[in-house]
């Protein structure tokens, strides 16, 4: 009976269409994910994909994937990319240009900042429901922690801890540039 399911399964979906974006920021860019919930065939493949567009100098928030490796292919523009592994070791700090590919291992934290012409990429994940865990923004792990934990962990004041948790307000994953100008040091 396998052919009865596989043969009729949907095998393609466009992820470049901006109207299909899962995360959208007017000034930052957009990210569209394609996982097995949207395209069930991916369950067989145990893989998923993500298409991202960052506008000039926008940031793809620091994050890691808890259940997948990620392979990034640059489709347009460039970015500065940093990857950090266990023990806080920086394993990559450099520019990614169009046509290049980069492997981000599972659990390794990555941040990207678009260059002056913006940055577009597609990334392939080795899990059909790859889970991205951001360090910054509305859905971040820091926001999920009590303020007292942050204060004691980083030896900072209550106000600094509040800023760490809430400065990015409703933003998630795609961060607009220039937020530091609003910082009350």
């Amino acid at each position: 009976g396998v052919e009865e399911t596989i043969c009729s399964m949907r095998l393609k979906q466009n992820i470049a269409n901006p109207t299909r974006a899962d995360i959208y920021s007017e000034k930052g860019g957009r990210i569209t994910t394609l996982n097995s919930q949207k395209l069930p065939i991916l369950n067989f493949l145990q893989m998923s994909a993500e298409r991202g567009v960052l506008y000039q100098n926008a940031l793809h928030a620091p994050h890691w994937h808890s259940n997948a490796h990620s392979v990034i292919y640059v489709t347009r523009g460039s970015c500065r990319c940093q990857i950090v592994g266990n023990q806080g070791r920086q394993v990559f700090d450099g520019q990614l240009n169009q046509g290049q590919m980069l492997v981000v291992p599972q659990n390794f934290a990555v941040v990207k900042q678009a260059g002056n012409e913006g940055f577009e990429w597609v990334s392939f994940k080795t899990n059909d429901n790859a889970m991205a865990i951001p360090l910054v923004g509305k859905t971040s792990v820091l926001r999920a922690m009590p303020v007292d934990v942050l204060m004691n962990a980083y030896q900072i004041s209550r106000e600094e801890a509040q800023r760490l948790k809430y400065n990015r307000q409703e933003e998630t994953m795609v961060l607009t540039p220039g937020s530091r100008s609003q910082v009350r040091a």
């Binding site: 940031l59 928030a61 620091p62 890691w64 994937h65 808890s66 259940n67 997948a68 500065r80 940093q82 990857i83 950090v84 592994g85 266990n86 023990q87 806080g88 070791r89 920086q90 394993v91 599972q106 659990n107 934290a109 941040v111 900042q113 080795t126 899990n127 889970m131 991205a132 865990i133 360090l135 910054v136 859905t139 792990v141 820091l142 926001r143 999920a144 922690m145 009590p146 303020v147 007292d148 934990v149 004691n152 962990a153 980083y154 030896q155 900072i156 106000e159 600094e160 509040q162 800023r163 760490l164 400065n167 990015r168 961060l175 540039p177 937020s179 530091r180 609003q182 910082v183 040091a185």
Partner: protein, 258 residues
Amino acid sequence: QGQSQCRIENINAQEPNRRVESEAGVVEFWDQNNEQFECAGVAPTRYIIQPNGLLLPFFVNAPRLVYIVQGRGMSGALIPGCPETFHSIRQSAQLRAGRSQQQGARDQHQKIRSIRQGDILALPAGVTHWLYNEGETPLVAVSLHDTSSNANQLDRNLRRFQLAGSQQTQTTSYQQRQQQRQQVRGQQQDIPENNIFNGFNVETLAEAFGVSTETARKLQGQNDQRGNIVFVEGGLRAIRPQQGEDEEEREQRYRTAN
């Protein structure tokens, strides 16, 4: 991942062979390269957290079960996608009253669980976790990591990813032979353990969080000598149900009475 090779002639009881001391506690590691642990595809660790000690948030590349051997405290597991369901009631009252100048006291976060001797904590791979000892005796927790789990797509080495703190000096108690063996195997056990923010550029961090570079440096914890278990002066305060009134406790009481 290939199945592990189990060429075991003898089985021996194992003690931790590495000890890392912090300001408010100790983390002890068993040798994960030991053939018995390698065969089982697991890596054990023991945490001894002094009263008012906070085990700083971290995650690992494998699922784990944690058993609370002794003591009591609170535990936070930061599960991606879950809402911050613990809110300050005072905050809501203040907001309703329009007292926005007192917003400094507001907080909301994910669920906190009370833990005590005999409890098992089940933590999926990649879930960030912190632990706080609010008892009068040391909190002892033994953690077993299933590094051979399908959830781990890296190699079988247990890898810790700290979100805070740094371990600049490590007190190790290797036996000479074990040390040599680990060096041969290319292990880098004596490398200082920094948190993941330390690997990012300060400017990038400041930009990402929208904070000053000074705060970003504190995130990196470069001059932090306290280690991964820190002392919380005056005790940790966090919004949560009253002791003994949380869901699990109520359920347990009901079962006893029925």
